[in-house]
Amino acid sequence: MTTNVSPQRLGTLLVALALLLAPLALTGQDYVLRVLTVGATYAIAVYGMNMILGLTGQLSLAHGGFFGIGVYLVGLLTTDYDWAFWPALLVAVVGTTVVGYVAGVVALRTREEYFAIFTMAMGFIIFLVISRWESVTHAHSGVSGVKYPESLGLLDFSDPMLMYYLVLLFLLGAGYVTYAVRRSGVGRTLIAIRTSEDLARSVGVNVGLNKQLAFAASSTFAGLGGGLFAAVQGFVGPSAASVDLTFEMLMFILVGGMGTVMGPVVGTFLVLFLFEFFQDFEAYRFIVVGPIIVALVIFAPRGIVGYLNAFAGHRRSRGPAGGNETGNRSENRVPDTTTEAKETL
């Protein structure tokens, strides 16, 4: 470990600080706080996508569906079944993990594009079930009156600022887990799978099991994000489980940087901001936003954080860094069909 502060750490610290201090700068601006809070719940789910796509290299398009399951578990349990929020959230997290694991058993039999489309179909089925199973989900009527998290001691979460900090806490947790995984043997395992399944197998990686676990873990994050989303919104409808949402999340992670620790946060907030900013153009905003997305994918295929990391890694000398700290120096390569290694933050 180096003792001086690496650029990645500094960047991370500043992002964290910005997020922590945001509410203080935004007093009386509940709208921005709301965008940030909702964005943070998305970002948590995007960390899940990062786990399966960014680290393990499997493009799962069922993610919006898993998010929706989390949303509806909390939504329905706290209203129709009158549960408290916390146990409902627990059930949402455990429930989506289980659903994710079981879905993974079947889905991971397929590979590459087939896996992508297969999971897209699963996502669509989840959406159809949620939007059509009237007697349970209330279909398009949605669920209103989702409970706030019950207060813990003096903390009353009906205050938007506290709610924000609560979600932020979970977000930091998700970021930390990603960081810890990323620099551990587990992360090495997943990245090995992403780079070459055959080689990973030959060094003794149980490819099937690890993909399975990564898939389940990714849905855990989706469920957590979804559960919090339900509480933040108070009202939920089927659009919280749509395939469109999956693609939005995919956009977040791509803009932020796949496989990086900070990518999901930066990407999510940046794209959401872009969307909000262009709201003033109403329907025509997509004439601008569409090409921006295309341009980002073409010119910054590794995402903002991926790019900054490469930049930082490039500038760093080949110092005595610990193995897992070494940055990626292949930024000049054209992205290959195998997802590239994007190291550390």
């Binding site: 995984v181 551990s184 090495r188 990245i191 060094v203 003794g204 149980n206 080949r318 193995g323 070494t326």
Partner: protein, 260 residues
């Protein structure tokens, strides 16, 4: 002592007998070479031993344990490591990271250890780093550890793949044409490396085309042709075996890459 015992092993692909009724004993502490013309089934045999293919008949026993048809992640855990004929590395990762990935199979800490940074996890990470560095030094490429794997010279890449295999702490190392495409001089270095691997207590199985290298290195040789064993024994016996000579002459020039 017989480390690996193969009896009646066969693999059929859609009507083709890639490996047919092969017996093989690999003794601990020796170098056993498998030779034969192109398409003889050498690589297929390796794939069967390492669990990449499931045999259609026969048994493989490793350290008196039946490992027939066991998936690769389990054979590696039991101590069988292998390299590939065409160098196969995590190309975008550094040399050290590549070798570290060989430690995955020996790691027991879980996601929770990683998240909680448990003492076990830290101990293990340290040990993994040490073992990886050992492997790099053993293969004499420690200087390249922070280079991106795809950007180092070919010879180094080949050494990385051996270091990667060694990092899994194998008892049996299966090398599939480790010196293919190298110069005469580099090949000499590799022969030296293989000897030192055996000296360090790891048994070696070797698929190789270069007769000179095989004859000078191997303690025991198995000759395959069309998936069948045509001869086996010491280099001396094999060299003079008429069937071997015929197979090699009949197969013509054999100094090429092939899928064995």
């Amino acid at each position: 002592m017989t480390l690996l015992e193969v009896r009646g092993l066969g693999k059929h692909f859609a009507g083709l007998h890639a490996v047919d009724d092969v017996d093989l004993d690999i003794s601990a502490g020796e170098i056993t070479a498998i030779i034969g013309p192109n398409g003889a089934g050498k690589s297929t045999l390796f794939n069967l031993l390492a669990g990449f293919y499931r045999p259609t008949s026969g048994t493989v026993r490793f350290k008196d344990r039946d490992v027939t048809g066991m998936s690769p992640h389990r054979t590696v855990a039991h101590g069988i490591a292998r390299t590939f004929q065409t160098t196969n590395l995590f190309e975008d990762a550094t040399v050290l990271e590549n070798v570290l990935s060989g430690r995955i199979v020996r790691s027991h800490s879980t996601v929770f250890d990683a998240v909680l940074r448990s003492p076990r996890h830290r101990r293990e990470e340290r040990r993994n780093l040490d073992r990886a560095m050992d492997a790099l030094e053993f293969t004499a490429i420690a200087d390249y550890r922070d280079e991106i794997a795809s950007r180092v010279p070919q010879e180094v890449q080949k050494r990385v793949s051996i270091a990667l295999a060694l990092a899994t702490d194998p008892e049996l190392l299966l090398l599939d044409e480790p010196a293919a495409g190298l110069t005469e001089e580099e090949t000499g270095g590799f022969a030296q490396l293989i000897r030192s691997i055996v000296a360090s207590g790891v048994t070696v199985g070797l698929v190789e085309h270069r007769m000179s290298m095989v004859m000078s290195l191997a303690d025991h040789i198995l000759v395959l042709d069309h998936g069948k064993e045509i001869a086996s024994g010491t280099p001396e016996t094999v060299r003079t075996d008429p069937q071997v000579i015929e197979a090699y002459l009949g197969a013509g020039h054999h100094e090429q890459e092939g899928t064995g």
